[in-house]
């Protein structure tokens, strides 16, 4: 049985903070064979790839109110070895553009976000508030090489999206 260390980043996310360094710090404290149990206010999809690189398989399950519990289990073939260096999602700069698109008719939010994203300098980010998960926007962002992080606020009424231009 894998032993899991709990990391709850929900308070950080609710306060508008960036939990990545906390997760990575916890990762470095793990003993060989231990896993990480992460609580987040959204499904941290971008993190899965980062953790896979470090030899962790993930299994995510939704909790109430849009929150998620994710188990990162060390894969047998690849022992968990914290890697030095800059992690993929570390240190996203403060957004240089902030948009509140909550009261716009669809698909106006998507148009505005793409227009603003095109103006970002390499590595810069923008943040946007939306009413819904912008599912049609994601493929467009990915095709253009942008990365994004997003999730609903705890009350489920606002979706916060952060988009980062390719550096």
């Amino acid at each position: 049985m894998t032993e899991y260390i709990d990391v709850d980043v929900r308070p950080i996310l609710r306060a508008g903070g960036e939990p990545f360094s906390v997760i990575m710090a916890a990762l470095e404290r793990l003993e060989p064979g231990q896993g990480l149990r992460l609580y987040a206010t959204f499904k941290p999809v971008p993190l899965f790839a980062v953790m896979a690189d470090r030899g962790f398989a993930h299994s995510a399950q939704p909790l109430d109110a849009g929150e998620w519990e994710v188990l990162f289990t060390p894969a047998d073939t690849k022992p968990a070895a914290p890697v030095a260096g800059r992690p993929a999602f570390d240190a996203w700069p403060e957004p240089s553009v902030r948009q509140d698109n909550r009261d716009l008719d669809p698909p106006e939010p998507m148009v505005r976000i793409l227009a603003a994203a095109e103006k970002l300098a390499p590595g810069e980010t923008l943040s946007a508030l939306l009413r819904r998960e912008p599912v049609f926007l994601f493929p467009q962002l990915e095709k253009r090489g942008y990365r994004w992080l997003g999730g609903f606020s705890p009350d489920g009424t606002t979706y916060e999206l952060t988009v980062r231009a390719p550096s």
């Binding site: 669809p106 049609f136 095709k143």
Partner: protein
Amino acid sequence: MSYFAVALAWLLVALALMVAGVGFPAVHLASPDTLILVHVVCIGWLSVAMCGALFQFVPVLVAKPLFSEKWALPGLGLLTIGLAALLAGFLGLGGRLPAWHWILPAGALLLIAGFSLIVVDLGLTAWQRPTGPARFVLVGLASLCVTVAFGAIFAFAHAGRAGPVGEAMLASGVPLHAIAGLGGWLTLTAMGVSYRLLSMFMLSPDIDDRKSNVTLAVGALAIAIAAIGGVFAIWLSFGLNVVLSVVAVLSLATIILYGRDVLGIFKNRKRRQLELNTRMAVLSYISLAASALLGVMLILTGAFTAQLGAFVFLAVFGWLSGLVLAKLYKIVAFLTWLETYGPVMGRTATPRVQDLVSEARASKWFVIYHAAVWFGTLMLLAGQPSAFRAAAAIMTIGIVGIVREIIRTRSLADVESTLRLPGGACAPHLLFARN
């Protein structure tokens, strides 16, 4: 897009049949000609359009990609051939074609294969996040399986291969087939989809899951009682009447609960000015309420069996077809916009979705269509077959107008030429959409 095109083609076939006087009310409700008409409408038009819409919509509901894009086209092919075989079988029953015994079961098997591909694909997709509207879709898909199972039993019974139980099912199980198909599959799915579309287009908060779950639970209970209770009643040779009465009460409750939810969405909307698709959806809600009212009045006056045709006509063409047409108009415009301008958005000036359509011109066709449906219902109630054919002809005019608008949208005919194809954008194909 291929699904929508095939569905609209079948709708025009159905209207041509009605104008030509094939099927009810020219002949009896249970006659082979009526069966042809009913299946062209319910499988060819409504089911194919619904499946096409769900392939677009379920991934949006659950924010996950479709389980398999590759299954959509074979599914459509199997449905089309299966429906054609089924219709040939009905023509055989009516003596218009040689009575090949194998053709009805063959049609049923093809339809089972086609619907299975679609149900598994959509079901596995929706299952990933079964909340809110996605639950309606799952219950709708389950009802579709029940409908297809009944239909297959009937097809084999017609071929004399379903044994005595199958014969008994064919003799009295037709209402159960119709309830599962029209009520469970088409109506519950349409309701589920409409929750999200309405709140999206009116900028209204999503309806509370607890509320819509009650609506769904009552609707699902009605279908379950119809399917399970109905089969037992036939098997044990009870009359179906008790089962059908319970189902009628639960169905009415579902419609009332749904009405409450929809009114809630309208009341909480942020956007005062309504788009055409929402305004026209209101006309189909009027038809839904009117069919419920008509059903209750017919049952109370004991005329339900005699006037079943009028009741089903209003539900199928006023409510279901009306809603599907209104949403189709919007879905095609949005998908075409995304397909054409998505890749260049933000880099150059692009038209808005509204620039792809001309609502003023389109609403005229919708109004003509709905008015003709209501007129047709009255003519059925009044027992005026010729006037009903005139109504069907007017409906056809409305539909041709709507189809023309949809083709204009797809070919960007209403977009100003300066904006139509900015550098990097490429014109959409009429029938196939790039993703």
